[in-house]
């Protein structure tokens, strides 16, 4: 039942998204959804396509109150974070320096600076997409910043910060492919990583497509380069990193979903959520966000207006 409802919502979301794009925002598709909600409240409510609720991006407002979790982290001396080490541009290990770097990682450095006064008090824990919820629920990490789409289902088990990046699902095909969107890929093998909203959507919304899963996004790129899959679907942010690693790949079509990224936090550590939101709000306001976007995601176009933080979530008793 849930599946059916989700699928319907997904379809409606996709239709709305394409209508919105048809309505004249053709310039920079990746950037539009971020700006759109501010102008048109009604479609914005329907946009978080991967959800069957309307407050997936609503987080806890920073309140400057007591922060026991943050104090404990400060006392420990390091912020333990779950990240990706193979998603170029977002969170990837630079083979030349050995350091993990990317947009997600820079956001974490900002949070480290806010807690410790220095950006490098981060203890990285490299996780796969499928591990993101588990490591938070088990308290193995403080934060997860790993192209983590906010949705209501995930809100049931963890908490998210406010939205800090708006991505959308697209497809990556070979350079000589004539496909211009996922609809053109019927009967072909399309890869998406396990434990992602991308894979779920692929299986539920596009049954014509043969969905192939891999443990990580990069696992998909390996299959793609070996000719074992015909295309990869994923967030534009991730696909941009793939295109940068493979000149024979191209990203086509418009985004057919909205993927609001939030930083994952343990459900019970609301004070940490509020603290992180304070950092994100400052980044969005003082230009740090735009500079970070330009540094990593410049390939997607000039930095858009940062996603507006939506607050008002009430703590569960």
């Amino acid at each position: 039942m849930t599946t059916a409802r989700t699928t319907r919502t997904l379809r409606r979301g996709a239709v709305l998204a394409s209508l919105l794009l048809l309505a004249g925002c053709a310039g920079a598709p990746a950037a539009t959804p971020a700006a759109a909600p501010q102008e048109a409240a009604a479609p914005a409510a329907a946009l978080p396509a991967a959800t069957d609720c309307d407050d997936a991006t609503t987080s806890y407002a920073p309140d400057g109150g007591a922060t026991p979790t943050v104090d404990a982290i400060r006392a420990r001396g390091s912020l333990i974070v779950g990240v990706s080490a193979d998603t170029l541009l977002m969170g990837a290990r630079n083979p030349l320096s050995g350091q993990i770097e990317g947009f997600d990682i820079d956001v974490l450095h900002q949070i480290s600076t806010a807690i410790f006064g220095s950006p490098d008090h981060l203890q990285f824990r490299v996780i796969t997409s499928a591990q993101r919820l588990d490591v938070l629920e088990n308290g193995e990490v403080d934060l997860v910043a790993r192209t983590f789409t906010m949705n209501c289902e995930r809100w049931d088990t963890i908490a998210f910060s406010a939205e800090y990046l708006h991505a959308g699902q697209k497809v990556l095909v070979t350079r000589d492919s004539t496909a211009t969107s996922i609809e053109d890929l019927g009967g072909q093998r399309v890869c998406a990583p396990d434990g992602t909203t991308t894979l779920t959507r692929l299986q539920e919304t596009y049954p014509d497509v043969t969905a192939v899963s891999a443990p990580t996004h990069t696992g998909c790129l390996v299959l793609f380069q070996q000719g074992k899959v015909d295309a990869i679907t994923g967030d534009d942010t991730i696909l941009a990193g793939f295109a940068a690693q493979d000149p024979y790949a191209k990203v086509v079509g418009d985004a057919f979903s909205d993927e609001p990224y939030g930083i994952g936090v343990n459900k019970d550590q609301v004070d940490l959520v509020r603290f992180v939101n304070g950092v994100l709000d400052r980044m969005k306001a003082d230009g740090t966000w735009a500079a970070t976007y330009d540094r990593w995601l410049g390939a997607l176009g000039p930095a858009p207006v940062p996603p507006t933080s939506v607050y008002g979530r009430v703590e569960a008793p």
């Binding site: 193979d86 998603t87 290990r93 083979p95 390996v222 690693q245």
Partner: protein, 427 residues
């Protein structure tokens, strides 16, 4: 021979009609000279049996020893290839931790290990046809493996993180398409080695059949003594002595070569197999150490494998046949590994990686190298010892076989002459 001499004894019976034939033979046998001729024939057959048994046993022993030698060589060869491959993989994964620009000496070590493995696979396929199919599969897997490692390297060199995924795939290809095939071959060959050793041990028992022949010779003599009322028949006596001496001598020589083979089996052969397996496990554990770090915080499963593999290696190296100097060297390395784990578990991943890739004396890589070199040289020594012992004793088994045949023939001649002398007395 028996027939030609026996013929004159039945001249009356042969021309007679078929029904009379039986009575003729019976009649001839009822007379003493006829009985003596039969006894002589029996003694000759018994003497010849000792000779042929000896030859058969000597050749079988030599074959079994040659098989044991060939099978242990094949087994050690397969384990060498397996070791080369895990060394290559351990080197590649460790170099990956260093980053895009891998140290030239590590690259050289990887190249050397892969070249040695490829050579080994080709030689092994040529030396035992039974293994060729699985070795072919392993060779195909190795080709895929090296291709993936190169792809990982090329991507790494350009700073592309997809390189890590290729390395991951390379390691999993090695562990699904190559090593299991080799392990299967190791199993098959060690069964073959066991069978060869078992037959080396059982061949001397063939000579026990010689006791039957000796008993026959003794019975013939006792019968002769009763019939002729002379205590000793010189021919039969010396024939029996000769057959007894040949059987005992053969049993001693073949038995001692079987004993020698059994000593090899429980000594240098056991050492070779144990050290080789332990060396392989340690190198695989070395890859696990690197993967634990590469996975950065999500490598708990790799560390578990590391612990299981090093424990198994320690058990193998603790066997009584193995040089007792190896266990402490393994323990040194495991202790060095624990320093890496302590740093990583304490949150200092960079420090852990720096230690894991450090080329400094006393650093984990150096300690591992010490263990590795000691295990390799112990392996070389014990496998050479096994080969020497097994290939040396086959020749003496063959010689003993032929000597026993000569002794058997001589005994046969002596037996016949001894009986003939008595038969002459009835003319």
């Amino acid at each position: 021979m028996t027939q030609t001499i026996a013929a004159p004894a039945t001249p009356t019976a042969v021309p007679a009609a078929a029904p009379a034939h039986r009575t003729g033979v019976r009649a001839a046998l009822s007379r003493t000279p006829g009985k003596m001729r039969v006894a002589g024939a029996v003694a000759v057959v018994a003497s010849l049996a000792v000779g042929f048994l000896g030859l058969r046993a000597g050749l079988a022993q030599s074959d079994a020893l040659a098989d044991a030698d060939a099978d242990t060589t094949q087994l050690v060869g397969i384990q060498d290839v397996r070791n080369d491959l895990v060394v290559a993989d351990a080197t590649a994964t460790n170099a990956f931790l260093v980053g895009g620009l891998e140290p030239p000496e590590q690259r050289a070590r990887y190249d050397e290990a892969v070249a040695s493995a490829a050579n080994g696979l080709a030689q092994l396929a040529g030396s035992n046809e039974a293994d060729a199919e699985l070795l072919g599969k392993a060779t195909a897997g190795l080709t895929t493996y090296t291709g993936l490692v190169e792809q990982a390297r090329a991507n790494n060199r350009q700073g592309f993180p997809v390189g890590a995924a290729y390395l991951d795939q390379a390691s999993s290809v090695l562990r699904t398409d190559v090593l299991p095939q080799l392990d299967e071959l190791v199993g098959a060959n060690s069964d073959r080695v066991d069978a060869s050793f078992d037959s080396v041990a059982s061949v001397p028992w063939l000579l026990a059949l010689g006791i039957l022949a000796l008993a026959v010779l003794v019975v013939v003599q006792v019968w002769m003594a009763r019939r002729t009322h002379r205590r000793l028949n010189a021919g039969l006596f010396w024939s029996t002595v000769l057959a007894l001496a040949a059987s005992v001598g053969g049993a001693v020589v073949l038995g001692s070569s079987a004993q020698q083979a059994s000593d090899v089996r429980n000594g240098p052969y056991d050492e070779t197999v144990s050290v080789s397996r332990a060396y392989s496990l340690a190198n695989d554990a070395k890859s696990m150490e690197s993967f634990t770090l590469i996975k950065r915080g999500s490598g708990a499963a790799y560390e578990e494998t590391f612990v299981a593999e090093t424990d198994e290696a320690r058990t193998l190296l603790s066997r009584s046949t193995v040089d007792p100097g190896l266990v402490p060297l393994l323990d040194d390395w495991v202790a060095a590994h624990q320093q890496i784990r302590a740093l990583d578990d304490g949150g200092d991943w960079d420090g852990a990686v720096a230690l894991a890739i450090s080329p400094d004396p006393g650093a984990p890589n150096d300690v591992f190298e010490t263990f590795s070199a000691a295990a390799s040289s112990s392996l070389e020594a014990s496998s050479a010892q096994t080969h020497d012992a097994l290939s040396g004793s086959g020749g003496s088994a063959v010689l003993v076989g032929w000597l026993m045949l000569v002794a058997g023939l001589l005994a046969a001649v002596l037996s016949w002459r001894g009986i003939s002398t008595r038969v002459e007395e009835y003319r």
